[in-house]
């Protein structure tokens, strides 16, 4: 059940990452005197992949941390 969420989420992140890799180069890749178009696309893709991995790791660790909590929240009674 919970593992299913991990899988779904991972697939979502991967899909978003791939989508961003496809979409971003169209708006961020420029040819300037310091970078060719190809290099610009490569740079975009590397950045997006690293960013996706970071964001995914952040999400999945928070999710896993809450999967099997060892303590319960103690809230004030109003």
């Amino acid at each position: 059940m919970a593992v299913g969420v991990l899988l779904t989420g991972t697939i979502v992140f991967a899909a978003l990452g791939v989508a961003a890799c496809v979409i971003f180069p169209f708006c961020t890749a420029y040819e300037t005197e310091n970078i060719t178009k190809g290099e610009s696309i490569q740079l975009t893709i590397v950045c997006i992949s690293v960013a996706t991995v970071c964001l995914w790791g952040f999400w999945i660790s928070m999710y896993m941390h809450q999967m099997n909590p060892m303590i319960l929240p103690e809230r004030a009674v109003h």
Binding site: A2, G9, G57, S61, Y63, H65, R75, A76, V77, H78
Partner: protein, 861 residues
């Protein structure tokens, strides 16, 4: 990067350098460093003189309050195709300088003459007032009509002036007259009174016309003075008065003898003043014309809506750019050696080699001379400069890396990963939706208005270069805020909670959970919520039930610490892997097998295992889950730090693990294997590399004669020739190499442990940020909302409370905390990440490029 020699014909050398500065990136090596022979010194002196004249002209222009149009350097370079010639520009500058100096001189002469005329005119006018038609001393009523045009007070003054004459007109009175600065007036009168013991009468009259000082050009207020005294023209009194006058530096003018004399004098002087004023005007006009000519933008005003890049500058600005460019060209030529043909070694990017050759060839054909680039046949022995191309996007990140150290030539550049990992680490620490969004919005603002901010002189100008970094930092901080479910310390209900309030506890009734200490002191009671079996864990971010819970920090700290370790091990692992790429690139198998391999084994066996345990503990159900679902078997959840310590102490204490502390079956065996791997990897890091190097140097004996001191490794005295390195590094010193390796090993082993601990700053700073935000919110806002006071009073309190909240949030969290998180992220990036692979001992490729030179020297004048 390639090394070569550039050969240029000396008579056309300037053209080639100019061309290379425009189109290519070549770094020249100074050939005359030792001899200090500078062939083009004379040109540089000439150019410096021209720059001096330009500065003078700039001052003149500023004095006339004109603005110089500053266009783009690109437009100047594009238009400057033989438009300006050194001799021509020099001639026109010298001509202008002469004209301006002559104008200044003339102007000052004319102005002095004009001032004198004005002053004398006023003296004459004052005289006119005291004499009246026919030369007879007259009363108040018979003032000449001319005087009535003067200002009203004059008639009153008149009475005083004429008083002595009326009282005693049998006595002989003389007078002297002149003009004095109004500031000195009082002092002058007092001095005269003292010197003459009160036997003179001094009268002052203001001059209404504007008088400008000829030297400073500033307006000065002056007065006419007339001193009446008893006695003849050349009496002792006269002597005394002239002395005083000279001491005050006043200008004295003859006092007209008669009324008619005064009238004719005034007429004469008026025409003189007009003449001088006309002459001054004409000069002024001429100079203004010259200045306008200087300020004119060549090629006419730019078309409406023209691109900033195409905007050209005023002629004088173009001249300045031209001088600067020429100076840099001759400074470069000074690095060349040779007489008829100039030669200089240079570095250039391999990718540009063909382009440079092509440029030189086409220019050679045009100029009917030959210039060429000789690339070195053999590999050069010198370390090439590191050339990392930057874009607007990567600029700020590369700057961060370069501040630590310029990458060694062809070393893996950490800048690429820094682009994402640096803002990510910042975000983990800064995590807050509200604050992160502010940073993000600021970044967006910089991105959108980058062009106009770059042009202006605002305080944000310096931030523009870092705009992508700031936007990314804001983005990651906002994302982290969603993960922590933290908006200015308040949580959102992003998804239904996994927990529910236990039934039957309402408003103080029923059981309380672990919160006795909170419930004891105040009326607040805490109750432990239950897992809602019908719900799932929140799919994204922190469950809102934890926000405001008494044990929120307990839960969140545990998460943040574990996440910090995960991030740390991942980033350090990446660093070690990059080292592997470096060793492969530089073809150093020894480094790969005896540094990279044991290092990664050590890291993975120790902290990779810790990561595994963290994830394992997260993924397995605990007692709470077992209570809920009988089919699930609870797993022990021992403290990870204890487990790690016991694992390392296993050789002393024995590896047996208490069943209640056991995480999974076969844990002892696995831990022992990992520990043995760690233990093995340390000597593997330490010994094989220096020994391998020693053997390698033995097998490749030096070509030159050398003395061999025997092969005892222990003695470590073997000196061997290293024909691969350059001359300075030809001796292989085993003991040095060995000591170096010992240091490296110790640094790595201890570093792995301490660096992992260092990543816990991710947790610490994020905790500090969250707690600060919470305190500000509680003290400045929440207290007023929850107070029992009158609604109106609360509203007023809240109004001011919010102002305090906003101000303190801005000052502490949006300014100070951003800086703090920035610095800590920088440290993690520099020390924990980069020390795994980054040597950073390269030097920067500094090509000769007009655009770079002209752009940095913008504020020179």
């Amino acid at each position: 990067m390639k090394h070569g020699t550039l050969v240029l014909p000396s008579e056309r050398a300037r053209h080639f350098i100019d061309l290379l500065g425009r189109k290519a990136n070549v770094q020249f090596v100074d050939m005359n460093e030792r001899t200090m022979r500078r062939q083009y010194k004379r040109y540089i002196q000439r150019l410096e003189e021209m720059e001096r004249i330009l500065r003078f002209l700039h001052e003149e222009i500023a004095r006339h309050e004109f603005n110089v149009t500053k266009g783009s350097v690109e437009a100047f370079l594009e238009s400057d195709t033989e438009t300006y010639q050194l001799d021509q520009v020099e001639d026109s500058l010298k001509r202008l300088y002469e004209q301006f100096s002559r104008f200044k001189e003339n102007n000052s002469d004319l102005l002095t003459e004009k001032n004198n005329a004005i002053e004398e005119k006023y003296v004459a006018m004052a005289a006119l007032a005291s004499l009246h038609e026919g030369g007879v001393m007259g009363g108040v009523g018979t003032m000449p009509t001319r005087r009535q045009t003067e200002h009203a007070t004059q008639s009153l003054l008149q009475a005083h002036i004429e008083a002595p004459h009326l009282v005693d007109d049998t006595m002989a009175f003389s007078n002297i007259a002149g003009v004095i600065n109004q500031a000195d007036q009082e002092r002058f009168a007092r001095t005269l009174f003292r010197v003459t013991r009160g036997n003179t009468f001094t009268h002052f009259q203001m001059i209404n016309d504007k008088i400008y000082d000829a030297k400073t050009g500033k307006e000065v207020a002056k007065s006419v003075f007339v001193v009446y005294y008893q006695g003849a023209e050349s009496s002792a009194m006269y002597e005394k008065l002239t002395k005083v006058c000279n001491a005050f530096g006043v200008s004295m003018y003859p006092w007209p003898a008669s009324y008619n004399d005064a009238v004719s004098r005034i007429e004469d002087l008026t025409t003189t003043i007009e003449d001088k004023a006309k002459a001054l005007d004409a000069f002024e006009q001429y100079i203004l014309g010259e200045i306008r000519d200087l300020l004119e933008v060549p090629g006419g005003p730019p078309p409406e809506g023209a691109d900033l890049e195409e905007l050209r500058s005023s002629r004088i600005e173009e001249w300045r750019l031209f001088c600067q460019k020429e100076k840099s060209i001759y400074a470069t030529l000074n690095m060349f050696e040779g007489d008829i043909t100039l030669r200089a070694n240079c570095w250039y990017p391999s990718a540009e080699e063909d382009m440079i050759r092509h440029l030189l060839l086409s220019q050679s054909n045009k100029q009917q001379v030959s210039a060429f680039l000789l690339s070195d046949k053999e590999r050069t022995t010198k370390t090439p400069p590191t050339y990392i191309r930057r874009t607007e996007f990567s600029y700020a990140f590369q700057e961060l890396v370069d501040t630590y150290g310029i990458p060694r030539y062809q070393e893996a550049n950490p800048g690429l990963f820094t682009i994402i990992t640096f803002p990510f680490l910042f975000g983990v620490m800064y995590g807050d939706i509200g604050h992160g969004a502010c940073v993000l919005l600021f970044g967006m603002y910089l991105l959108i208005f980058a062009d106009s901010l770059k042009r202006g002189d605002g305080p944000l100008k310096g931030m523009v270069a870092a705009r992508y970094m700031i936007a990314l930092m804001g983005f990651f901080a906002t994302y982290a805020g969603f993960i922590y479910n933290d908006f200015l310390s308040i949580g959102f209900v992003l998804a239904p909670s996994h927990f529910k309030e236990p039934p039957g506890v309402h408003h103080g009734g029923g059981e309380h959970g672990g919160g006795e200490e909170g419930g004891g002191a105040s009326q607040t009671q805490f109750v432990e919520w239950q897992i809602d079996p019908s719900s799932k864990p929140t799919p994204f971010g922190l469950d809102w039930a934890w926000k405001g819970a008494q044990n929120e920090l307990l839960f969140l700290n545990s998460y943040k610490m574990k996440f910090a370790v995960l991030v740390g091990v991942a980033q350090m692992g990446l660093g070690v892997v990059l080292k592997a790429f470096n060793t492969i690139h530089f073809a150093k198998p020894l480094d790969f097998f005896f540094e990279f391999v044991p290092q990664i084994i050590f890291l993975v066996a120790l902290f990779g295992y810790m990561d595994f345990m963290i994830v394992f503990k997260w993924m397995t159900p605990g007692p709470l889950q077992a209570d809920l679902d009988p089919s699930v078997k609870a797993v022990n959840k021992p403290g990870l730090i204890n487990t790690m310590i016991n694992m390392c102490l296993a050789p002393m204490k024995g590896s047996a693990i208490d069943p209640s502390e056991q995480l999974f079956g076969g844990q002892e065996t696995i831990q022992n294997i990992l520990l043995i791997l760690c233990a093995i990897s340390i000597p593997v890091m330490l010994f094989p590399k220096p020994i391998g190097l020693l053997i390698w140097h033995k097998m490749h004996p030096p070509r030159t004669v050398h003395h061999d001191d025997g092969d005892d490794e222990e003695r470590g005295e073997g000196e061997h020739h290293d024909d691969d390195e350059e001359d300075e590094h030809e001796h292989f010193n085993f003991s040095e190499e060995f000591i170096h390796q010992v240091i490296e090993t110790i640094e790595y082993v201890l570093g792995t442990i301490s660096n992992t601990a260092s990543y816990l700053r991710l947790w610490a700073l994020s905790l500090a940020h969250q707690q600060l935000a919470l305190v500000f919110f509680e003290k400045a806002i929440l207290g007023f909302i929850e107070s029992d006071a009158n609604v109106v009073l609360r509203a007023v309190e809240l109004f001011f409370g919010f102002a305090v909240f906003a101000a303190i949030t801005f000052g502490v969290l949006l300014c100070m905390d951003v800086l703090e998180c920035f610095l800590h992220a920088l440290r993690l990036q520099w020390v924990e990440f980069q020390n795994k692979f980054y040597k950073g001992d390269g030097y920067k490729f500094a090509p000769f490029n007009h655009k770079a030179i002209l752009s940095t020297g913008e504020g020179d004048l």
